[in-house]
């Protein structure tokens, strides 16, 4: 998502604005209603953290898809395809294939062996306090990176879609999004958050299907014609339909893309806000069904972004295409919706533009709520209840701390996002995936499949993967020394006159992921932990059969 401050108004006429505002208000009212309803169903800690484990596979599948598909993928990927053609599509494939790791190796086993957080699964056979601390640090870091990127994007996006200008309006938007997300999480807990995500997923799929069909109809459902139009209109010719426009510049960008691909494909199964969603269903079988639904929805969605992206390149006027470029791609889908609805100034165009804007808004709200809940749960359940109170906290106290933590994390996110608006922080989402792949995935996989794995191995892989990913990015071009783009926008976090980078790649995965696995192995081999090894048989049986696994709450 773009963080440029050079956003220009959406269109000369503002006929869609009343409809857009009405739909935004509607989204807010519906989600508030859901949250209040959910709060009445929330009594125990299991209700708060895991929605009572009473969601069905279908419901959770929609919620997983709603949690995963951020505004960055909704507006960002279609925008990237509209601007860089085929290379925008490369992204979405990594995001989808990654779900097979979650399906085959993680979802069901985690559901059977954990309770509320990612750390539960490790703590099953490791020394509680160090392992929970490490897993919680990693959870909070990944979630905050991701959250910050979403919040800054929200400020830019909502003011762009509502056509309000000026810093005050953007700051207000960020504060309002933050306040709403705190409300969902503190009041509605996992039940409220899940339903917000389900509603968002339905809206997103509905809106995307509608625009896709309208775009294809413009070409009489001839995909080749659409591709031809896109290639011609983009000015790049056939190269627009081939890989290379964005990542094929030189060997460094190619290796960078390989590094990104690794982080995307391995990172998804280590994103804490995705992992805890598997605790919301009653059985491992329902967790499997959740992932199958999520794969279907996410796959269908990314196929449609292909039509949205190439469709935008093919159909938009030169003027509108220029606006897409100025918004770094974010306006591709909204302007395309306006175009296929009848064009700027028409009623149909205004309604469809407003609809897509509202879908984007719902998308932002659902994703930030999921991230806040995840970090708050980990702070309360791992740090407060198990590290500080050593497992002696009451459920009531634990949930109270979780609510307090949600308010604190939300406040921190608002406070960081407002000044971060003027900085280029587009790298944070990719960094979150890299940390998840380098720190969380090695620990989870080793713990499930390697009897010898122990506390030291877990700590080394989590802290080692986390630190190496963050340090490498700190000394990479995305933080300093990348220079400016064609429009003079700074491509790095630091001002253009600062340059201390020595790591050549934007994405650390190709180094930090093997390092995370290696450190986990070295740490394990240099220590011996009989308890962890003895407990492995129990974990093994519980993970594969569900014997003794947490059950659903029945009210």
């Amino acid at each position: 998502m773009s963080t440029h401050d050079s956003m220009i108004p959406l269109a000369q006429d503002t006929s869609h604005r009343p409809v857009t505002v009405t739909l935004f208000v509607l989204v807010v009212l519906v989600t508030i209603g859901i949250t209040i309803w959910a709060s009445r169903q929330t009594r125990t800690a299991t209700d708060y953290y895991a929605g009572g484990r009473s969601f069905t596979g279908v419901q959770n599948g929609f919620a997983v898809a709603g949690d995963y598909m951020s505004a960055a993928s909704f507006l960002g990927i279609s925008g990237a395809i509209a601007l860089t053609g085929y290379d925008g599509f490369l992204y979405s494939i990594g995001f989808l294939v990654a779900w097979l790791v979650a399906l085959l190796l993680v979802a069901e086993l985690l559901r059977n062996s954990g309770r509320y957080t990612m750390a539960d699964q490790l703590a099953f056979r490791m020394r509680q306090r160090p392992v929970r601390t490490a897993a919680s640090v990693s959870t909070v870091v990944v979630s905050i990176f991701y959250l910050l990127a979403q919040m800054v994007g929200a400020g830019a996006l909502v003011s762009l879609l509502l056509e309000v200008e000026g810093d005050a309006a953007k700051n207000l938007t960020i504060a309002a999004v933050g306040a709403l997300m705190i409300f969902y999480v503190t009041v509605g807990g996992m039940k409220g958050t899940t339903w917000v995500q389900i509603v968002k997923a339905v809206l997103l799929m509905g809106g995307t299907i509608l625009i896709t069909v309208l775009v294809l109809a413009e070409f009489n459902f001839n995909i080749s014609d659409m591709l031809g139009g896109a290639a011609e209109n983009s000015g790049a010719g056939q190269a627009f339909l081939e890989p290379g426009l964005k990542y094929g510049v030189d060997t460094t960008t190619k290796i960078d893309f390989l590094s990104l691909g690794l982080a995307l494909v391995l990172g998804t199964a280590g994103l804490p806000h995705i992992l805890i969603r598997f605790y919301t269903v009653p059985t491992a079988k329902q967790a499997r069904s959740s992932v199958l639904w999520a794969i279907s929805l996410i796959g269908a969605f990314y196929l449609m972004t292909l039509v949205l992206g190439f469709g935008a390149a093919a159909l938009l006027s030169e003027d509108a295409y220029g606006q897409v470029a100025d918004s770094a791609g974010n306006l591709a889908s909204p302007l395309l919706a306006e175009e296929v609805g009848g064009g700027a100034g028409s009623n149909g165009g205004a309604v469809l533009l407003a609809l897509i804007a509202a879908v984007a808004f719902a998308t932002i709200l659902a994703v930030v709520a999921g991230l806040t809940l995840t970090s708050a749960s980990s702070v309360a359940h791992d740090i407060y209840a198990n590290v500080i109170r050593r497992g002696k906290a009451t459920e009531h106290d634990e949930v109270k701390v979780a609510r307090g933590a949600a308010i604190a994390i939300g406040a921190v996110a608002i406070a960081l996002a407002i000044p971060a608006q003027d900085l280029n922080i587009a790298f944070l989402v990719a960094l979150a995936f890299a940390v998840a792949a380098s720190a969380n995935v090695p620990a989870l996989v080793y713990n499930l499949f390697w009897k010898r794995f122990n506390t030291r191995g877990a700590l080394w892989s989590i802290y080692g993967g986390l630190t190496s990913a963050v340090v490498l990015v700190f000394f990479s071009p995305v933080v300093s020394g990348k220079g400016v783009d064609a429009n003079g926008n700074n491509l790095s976090l630091f001002p253009t006159d600062v340059d201390f980078h020595w790591f050549p790649l934007d994405n650390p995965g190709i180094v930090s992921i093997p390092l995370g696995f290696l450190l986990g192995w070295v740490g394990t081999m240099t220590a011996r932990d009989r308890t962890a090894e003895d407990k492995y048989d129990e974990l093994d049986v519980r993970a594969l059969t569900g014997a003794g696994a947490e059950k659903a709450v029945t009210h």
């Binding site: 085959l104 995909i223 990542y247 594969l544």
Partner: protein, 112 residues
């Protein structure tokens, strides 16, 4: 320090773990999940490498404006859907019956 389990639970887990049924369950699970993971990772990395370093091949036109790059990308979707479906079928037929039986045995033994 670790998650507490009662002696009775511990014994039930140990007994199931030592049994032939569990060994068979684990063999069937690993036998599917591991080779399949290697397969889709190699297949995905092949696609990434081809996108990076096999430009001429990827640019070959197949039908109209549809080129190899697009077909290869779409095949990644097809293979993902296919592997997901195959795993679900494998799990329903070969894993769930054993897992359900062992879970029932466990519940009976620990009296849940």
């Amino acid at each position: 320090m670790v998650e507490e389990t009662t002696t009775r639970e511990h014994e039930a887990y140990e007994r199931i773990h030592a049994g032939r049924d569990f060994a068979e369950l684990k063999r069937r699970y690993i036998g599917f999940a591991f080779p399949m993971t290697v397969a889709f990772m190699v297949w995905y990395l092949l696609y990434v490498v081809a996108s990076n370093w096999a430009n001429d091949f990827m640019a070959t036109q197949v039908v109209g404006n549809v080129n190899v790059a697009l077909v290869f990308g779409l095949l990644q979707f097809v293979s993902t859907f296919l592997i997901a479906w195959l795993y679900a079928r494998h799990a329903n037929r070969k894993l769930d019956p054993i897992a359900d039986r062992l879970r029932e045995e466990y519940d009976r033994e620990v009296g849940r």
